[in-house]
Amino acid sequence: MAATVRTVERTSEPPRLRVGRRARVLLAHREILLNLVRKELKVKYTASVLGAVWSLLNPLVYLAVFTFVAKVLGAGIPDFPVYLLSGLLAWNLFSSSLTSGAQSVLDNSNLVKKVAFPHEILPLASVGVALVDFVLQSAVLLVYILAFYGLHWPELALWPLAFVALLVLSVALALWLAAMNVRYRDVGHLLNIGLVVWFWATPIVYASYQAKHLAESGEWFGISRFAFFLLNPMTGVVEGFHRALYAVVHPPGQPSPVLFDVSLAWVAGLLALVLVASLVGLRLAWGYFFNRSGDFAEEL
């Protein structure tokens, strides 16, 4: 043990967020984070016979249903289950991080009022729980891909980048929404509606090329509508996952491409852009959360 005595001074001034120092504080409290995630998972699956299998069953059912439905409907996307799930799993991580993250501080008001701990842990735990589900479900998808589809090598390298961008974006928004929700309780309701719109604005169930094609045919203020389409960071993220796992831009025998007909580097660049924007967003959201968190105990 170092002989230095930790000195804390608390004043009316909200302390400035120093990212490095705060990150160390969070790291020191990682035990709480892990325990909270563990708790959530336990609570979710206690008293259910199958337990975590439920979480795996979800993508399995999707795979089964869409293998069949896609054939019947003859949707213009071959191997539709792979296409759908590679994007949908990312979306699920995103949307459940946001939904439960937004409620995290409110739901734990008793803790916030009675225990001194870094409150960031609460939305982070929400993301953590979503992350565990994501990992389990991705494993199912991976098995399916290995069995029926095959991995595509250079494309797969996009996966880590897409994953990090998704995670940073989810954390940033979860922090921001959690802090907002303490003051304005309608954030939760607004979010539910917003997520529905957002889901359909993101190329998950439909071929991303179609969206690109439609968007490119017009322009607003002299800028291609496609640029506006890309303002949705989830478009970039989902397209990253598509490219990494579905990988085939223009399946043979199809009249038009399925994915964005751009180079791999282009997608990587888009992901990098999303990541940078998400990091900036994270810094802002964290600053806002940190600033507000001193008043949480009072406002709940």
Partner: protein, 395 residues
């Protein structure tokens, strides 16, 4: 170790805004240009230092700001103005079993709760056996706590709490729960913490506990510091306030001091000057008087008041008893002997007065400065003849 205080509270004020109609939605926020809020000052310019390694008692009636102060020190609440400087690792026990979830087992909850109190997994592993033994619920550690009785929950929460390892420990009313044996266990544990040189801040309503274990105490009254100092003095002050004695004109000590009360002892039947007084046993109030200049008309009196009702139950005065005190300078001793104190068990206040027989002018009065407790004398059931009737009936 460090010389600087473990906690420095400087000019601390905390304002709560009490909203009549609080804008908790965007619509309200947009429609009402100004929220109607009333200010409530929970703390007002509180300044206090708490020395490293000391045990500090914080008392005051409900709503006096004790818990708010504790929360400001812990960093749960942000001060409105002023500052709190705190040195060393801190753990705040504001609630037993923080984070306990009914669906988790006792074991899982121990780990969860311990992490909130700042224990690492390894520390919890090491303390786990101790915690279970302390809580005395070995057989239930693997059942969900929703099946626990409330007593078991409290014991488990407390068992985790006492295994924290902070340099500064804030405790809020945790000691107030549980039966006597449990409370004794708590006090025991606090004493261990004291021996280990930890700084403890204790919020409690148990005034005797404060006298018993604190080095210093502070009384808050409507968010302001009312008294800081020796626990005994602060508690006495608190009792005045609790008994509704802080009227405008209340003066605990007054007089011209030609003659002074040098010392007062309340001697029990067994000759001791402390401990409880047994009901129906004798009581002697010994007043040592010091005359700073020749006094020839001294009149000494005492009054005993019931602590519960503040009603005088017994008094006596040298002049009315026809016992003159001759002119003297220097010291004299007055003994008021009560052969048998017949009143109910409870607390009693003692007021001592010195005055002038001739003019009635007060030389020195200590109002409700002393107190004692009356308990029922323990009784051994004796055998007596009780006739027993026996009947046998055919059915």
């Amino acid at each position: 170790m460090t010389e600087s205080p473990a906690i420095e509270v400087h000019d601390l004020s905390k304002r709560f805004r009490v909203f009549r109609e609080r804008p908790t939605s965007l619509k309200q926020r947009l429609l009402t240009s100004r929220s109607r809020a009333e200010d409530l000052w929970a703390l007002h310019e509180v300044t206090v230092d708490i020395a490293h390694g000391s045990t500090f008692g914080l008392i005051g009636h409900n709503g006096s700001g004790k818990t708010t102060l504790l929360k400001c020190i812990a960093g749960i609440l942000r001060p409105t103005s002023g500052s709190v400087t705190q040195r060393g690792r801190l753990a705040a026990l504001l609630e037993l079993g923080a984070g306990f979830h009914p669906e988790l087992t006792g074991r899982e909850n121990v780990y969860l709760n311990a992490s909130f109190l700042g224990l690492s997994r390894r520390q919890t592993d090491a303390a786990y056996e101790d915690i279970v033994a302390f809580a005395e619920i070995e057989d239930f550690m693997d059942s969900q706590v929703k099946f626990y009785s409330s007593g078991m929950l409290v014991r488990l929460g407390f068992a985790v709490a006492v295994h924290v390892d902070p340099e500064v420990l804030l405790v809020d009313e945790v000691l107030a729960v549980g039966d006597e044996a449990y409370q004794a266990k708590c006090i025991d544990r606090i004493r261990t913490f004291q021996r280990e040189g930890r700084t403890i801040v204790l919020v409690t309503h148990a005034l005797d506990t404060v006298i018993e274990i604190c080095d210093r105490a502070m009384m808050l009254h409507h968010g302001r510091v009312h008294t800081v100092g020796q626990p005994r003095d602060v508690v006495r002050e608190m009792r005045y306030v609790l008994l509704g004695q802080v009227d405008e004109g209340f003066v605990p000590e007054e007089g011209t001091r030609e003659a002074e009360i040098a010392e007062v002892q309340i001697v029990r039947a067994d000759g001791r000057a402390d401990g409880p007084v047994r009901r129906n046993e004798s009581l002697t109030i010994v007043v040592d008087v010091r005359a700073n200049q020749p006094v020839d008309d001294l009149d000494a009196d005492f009054q005993i008041l019931d602590g519960a009702t503040n009603y005088p139950v017994l008094d006596a005065r040298t002049s009315t008893a026809g016992i003159p005190i001759d002119r003297f300078e220097g010291k004299k001793r007055v003994r008021f002997r009560v052969p048998s104190f017949p009143y109910d068990p409870g607390r009693y206040w003692v007021t001592i007065g010195l005055s002038s027989r001739r003019t009635g002018a007060l030389y020195h009065v200590q109002t409700q400065r002393y107190q004692f407790e009356v308990i029922d004398a323990p009784r051994i059931q004796e055998r007596v003849e009780v006739p027993v009737q026996i009947e046998i009936e055919d059915l």
